[in-house]
Symmetry: C2
Subunit: 452 residues, 2 copies
């Protein structure tokens, strides 16, 4: 089984497992107790809080541990709305936030608050100016994700935050925490440990010192009065240990995962007819790509991929029982049917990705076969050629381009996949010299049009 | 270190640890996903739900897993109050509920609801009639614990429930679940896995079919719409496995733990001056006993006991920073200072309890020494003698009684500790024959007054 669904939950990181086992021995007691084992649990909890704070660019006393990312979002949003009631009851969020955010907004609206959902472009990205323009004098809270959970698009959080003035911004960093630096400008920050390879049962709510927050729940003195209930020390210790481990690995894996995703982004349209790769090709998470296949039932496609040994997910569904059209894809104005989200784990084998790319066209064709449709050929065969030079040093990418450009008709395009830094200079320079049209680069994907 | 604080948190049961390790391998994926590993996690979750339902006398579809006992109480109470708004906004609870219940009541009162706290007797027990008398036509919810967390007193839940008519009753079973059968008559039931030897991070909220409940939090489709957030399958699997294991062990250990607690109840007043053992001597949890020492700072006493190798807790404090007088002891009208709660783990060694009883008098005397008080001698030396015949077969308890009764003055009392079933007949019979006064039995404690 190839597990390509880390955006749902990442497999438990080996460091998390070791830390959990150790903390079940050393940190099992109630950290609120005064005897030795209680004090020991408290010290482990304090150390975990410092680790997480450092990783997220916060102070330890700004961090509270929740039971899940959803709980962090709920407590963060409801507490900030309650704490900023004097400003008013207006909430702003992007149209592509996680369902946990939308559900708080629904409840807020049903209870008399007002809500503005800010639209996104075709890549799922908000425009900072448009987002800031939705803010009003009575806006109590704005919410923006660091990166989208369905299509991987990274949001312009820092630029947006700069335009918001004194309106507190909650940044939902569930998809990026542990994989990328947390963007600046947040007043509240939320994350979820099982998304970065920590155990289930741990979320993070950070509230910047000075930000108004008032608990939406009955009093409880634990976690700075922000999260009621017994503190799950062993799981928190494991979450912190794995966050530290995964950050280093993610940095090392970033370029490799980006190249693998670029390969999927380039190859799928070349091998599957009537497919649309969605999400921002450049401002994106390194490991996540989503595409939609026309005329295909997403659930059936997932089932066939599962039988072929690939665990992937379909867009929005938070449960398997609600495969409704994704609100994210709808907001982007892109195809919502036959949706497949691939999110690659750290250390994924290149061969596994290639195998996925090999079997996908046949599986999609199989699902479509009963429909008896007469489909056009995939993009690549009608004028676009993909030249995969990933991992090859210059001048190989340019040599491959020169060799293959004659294979497309005049007016057709060649996409070169190259991750050697020199390609960014060499490919445009080659076009200039040879008179072909350089259409630009998106990540490791360079597009050239044959002009003669 | 002897850990005598299972009422705060029980050490992780070996079965829980094994199940957790296995479920981290087999049940790590998102149970909402359709691929194989997701379906496997779902099956483990379903099986765990059935186990817990069976153990608590509920149907699987009545059980939702929360992140803690406190979260179960909060969601249970707030959801029931919200769901029964048409009845009114009156809440009834006993004065000795856990702080999580009192905090929901405070919030409810602050938001316009009305609250009645029903008093208890000197043993911390509610009177069913008095509790039922607090119910009004606008009562939306009543809350009563199965057993008190500070003094171990078991509440007359079933008798009370019978008097409540259609008013829903939430039973907080945190201290008894896994140790004793759940009392009947509940509409909502709450529990906490780490109290029975399961991992932290798992609570249980059961809502009887047909009981009105409306989520106080924004929508989330997981756990039947009752508990937002990612479901912690490995911890839930471990919680269920340990609940099953612990129930069998608790039944086997019940008599032994009761006798050990009786020993503490009998011996402490005989060896420590100016001490009060609190809580119901008969209607009580098998493993928990609390006593208070006049003129002693509870926190200092806990520190000294910790240095002597005993981890115990002091009454009410949910955190070490709030050693305020216990609301439970205050409601009972008993001494609140110098409070020590001893809660024995399953399998505790008899020698450890005896060692505790040996060192306690010296430690209390040491804490009191700087005060320069002239204290009366302990109870036992002024007319009460404790004869410990626990574990001894009849006729030994009666022989011991006959040998020692001359050691107390006329009018003094002898307490015989005996767990042989025959003692209940033999000791009164011996008194009848010999002309001494039989004062009665409480559990394994038989009291006889010397009359001549």
């Amino acid at each position: 089984m190839h597990y390509f669904d880390v955006a749902s939950t990442a497999p438990l990181h080996p460091v998390a497992r070791q830390a959990l086992t150790a903390a079940l021995d050393e940190g099992w007691a109630d950290p609120a107790r005064l005897y030795r084992s209680g004090r020991q649990a408290r010290m482990l909890l304090d150390a975990a809080r410092e680790t997480v704070a450092e990783a997220l660019g916060a102070r330890p006393d700004e961090i509270s541990f929740t039971a899940s990312g959803t709980q962090a979002v709920q407590l963060g949003m409801l507490g900030a709305l309650r704490g900023n009631r004097r400003r008013g009851a207006h909430l702003v969020h992007s149209a592509v936030e996680h369902s946990s955010v939308l559900h708080v907004a629904e409840r807020h609206g049903a209870e008399g608050g007002s809500v503005t959902a800010v639209g996104v472009d075709r890549h799922g990205r908000v425009a900072p100016g448009a987002f800031a323009a939705a803010v009003r004098p009575d806006t109590a809270l704005a919410v923006l994700q660091s990166a989208n959970h369905e299509v991987g698009t990274v949001q312009p959080v820092t630029e947006t935050a700069e335009l918001l003035g004194e309106v507190p911004l909650l940044v939902d960093a569930a998809q990026s925490a542990g994989r990328a630096a947390v963007p600046g400008g947040w007043s509240l920050l939320t994350a979820s440990a099982h998304k970065w390879g920590g155990p289930a049962g741990v979320g993070v709510l950070a509230v910047r010192k000075g930000v108004r927050w008032s608990s939406p729940l009955p009093a409880d003195e634990r976690e700075r009065g922000r999260v009621p209930g017994y503190v799950n020390v062993p799981a928190i210790v494991a979450a912190a240990a794995s966050l530290r481990a995964v950050r280093a690995e993610a940095a090392a894996e970033d370029a490799r995962l980006r190249a693998l995703v670029d390969r999927i982004r380039a190859r799928v349209p070349g091998s599957v007819p009537e497919v649309e790769v969605v999400g921002d090709p450049v401002h994106r998470l390194p490991h996540l790509v989503t595409f939609s296949c026309l005329y295909v039932d997403g659930e059936v496609l997932l089932g066939e991929l599962d039988r072929a040994g690939f665990a992937v997910n379909s867009g929005s569904s938070c449960t398997s029982s609600t495969l409704t059209p994704s609100h994210v894809l709808a907001a982007m104005g892109v195809l919502t049917e036959g949706n497949v989200r691939v999110s690659l784990p750290l250390g994924v084998a290149e061969e596994a990705v290639d195998r996925f790319l090999d079997v996908l066209p046949g599986i999609v064709a199989g699902v479509r076969a009963p429909l008896g449709l007469d489909l056009p050929a995939p993009e690549a065969t009608v004028g676009t050629l993909v030249v995969d030079a990933l991992g090859k040093r210059c001048p190989v990418p340019v040599i491959e381009l020169a060799k293959r450009i004659g294979d497309v008709p005049v007016g057709g395009t060649v996409v070169v996949l190259a991750d050697d830094a020199a390609a960014r200079l060499d490919i445009p320079a080659w076009c200039e010299m040879r008179g072909h049209e350089y259409l630009g680069a998106e990540g490791t994907r360079f597009t050239v049009r044959r002009t003669f």
